[in-house]
Subunit: 208 residues, 2 copies
Amino acid sequence: MQDSPPRRIEFWFDFGSNYSYISAMRIAELAARNGVEVAWNPFLLGPIFKSFGWDTSPFVLQKEKGAYTWKDMARQCKKYGLPWRQPSSFPRAAVLPSRVALFAQGTPWHGEFCRRVFALNFAEDRDVHTPEAVTGILEQLGVPAAEVLQQAQSDAIKLRLRQQTEMAVARGVFGAPTFFAAGEMFWGNDRLEDALAHAAGTPPAGSV
Amino acid sequence: MQDSPPRRIEFWFDFGSNYSYISAMRIAELAARNGVEVAWNPFLLGPIFKSFGWDTSPFVLQKEKGAYTWKDMARQCKKYGLPWRQPSSFPRAAVLPSRVALFAQGTPWHGEFCRRVFALNFAEDRDVHTPEAVTGILEQLGVPAAEVLQQAQSDAIKLRLRQQTEMAVARGVFGAPTFFAAGEMFWGNDRLEDALAHAAGTPPAGSV
């Protein structure tokens, strides 16, 4: 008897994306419950928005949608039991933590690093792009911060982050979070359950 | 002892909006289960999109999002057990059925009229703005079609449709479907359950 290949979901996110925050905090437990492995894939939404002719987030460009989003975030975080503080700066730059997250792929501290970056931005309303912010998180995780920061700023990792974003574009990603499961793309935290059901090969739970 | 006031949800929709179709097909049963009355509120998204500088739906303007939307619609309709045919013309004009829906508010055939207009557009891929299309539906419902069409094109109803759209803008509506429940606005079919829970005064069902 052979083991079946592990079921897998790709979680594509930008650390500045508020709905990515909600998914980041929920995905590990939901995926484990479905017997699915999570591949964390940081990328940058900024260049994608620029390709649409937008110089920032649609939540900033469309004021009605933006005003609604912050109300929706407060309600959604309450519903999922997540801490929430509306960021005083949005969307926050996140190149450095994205590079660290790419460097960390495959390490045991990878998911927890990503959750802590998101929490800093959306639960504590603090910047996440500074060496101080990233160092603080790495030290909390007991990881050699100076060494990791240096590696994360190597040309190889810089190139990989650009490639991540290019790959996202090539695969049709237009926002975050985006999930890939068994060849299908799902957009938005509201589709996390459906994406996991698809990865696990079970039908999504619909109501009426 | 006095009866408590009826719990109520306002369902704001455009007959050309595909996600409004899903909500239109689901809302009556879900609302009844929550002990909530539904107020059907047709309005026109076109003028609202124009005010954002868009000359059509974002699903047309943003090709990546549009391509995703049709895949998402097929999956969502399957999940909810709804028929689905991708419209060959999108977004379809719907001024005439919107006027008839406004005229019909308070009649027993109001909800069913709206569902049949949506089904024509999204399950049968047929135009909904012609007198023939609307007449066909009214006749199926056993309603005097010629009389209703005449009333629905009165200046009073034309004015009311414009006022509906102005009221939507004034209340911060930027897309459809939009729900109002106990003073709060909820956007999108994905928030229908939360909106109904809020209308019913019960906490929304969250998972992780």
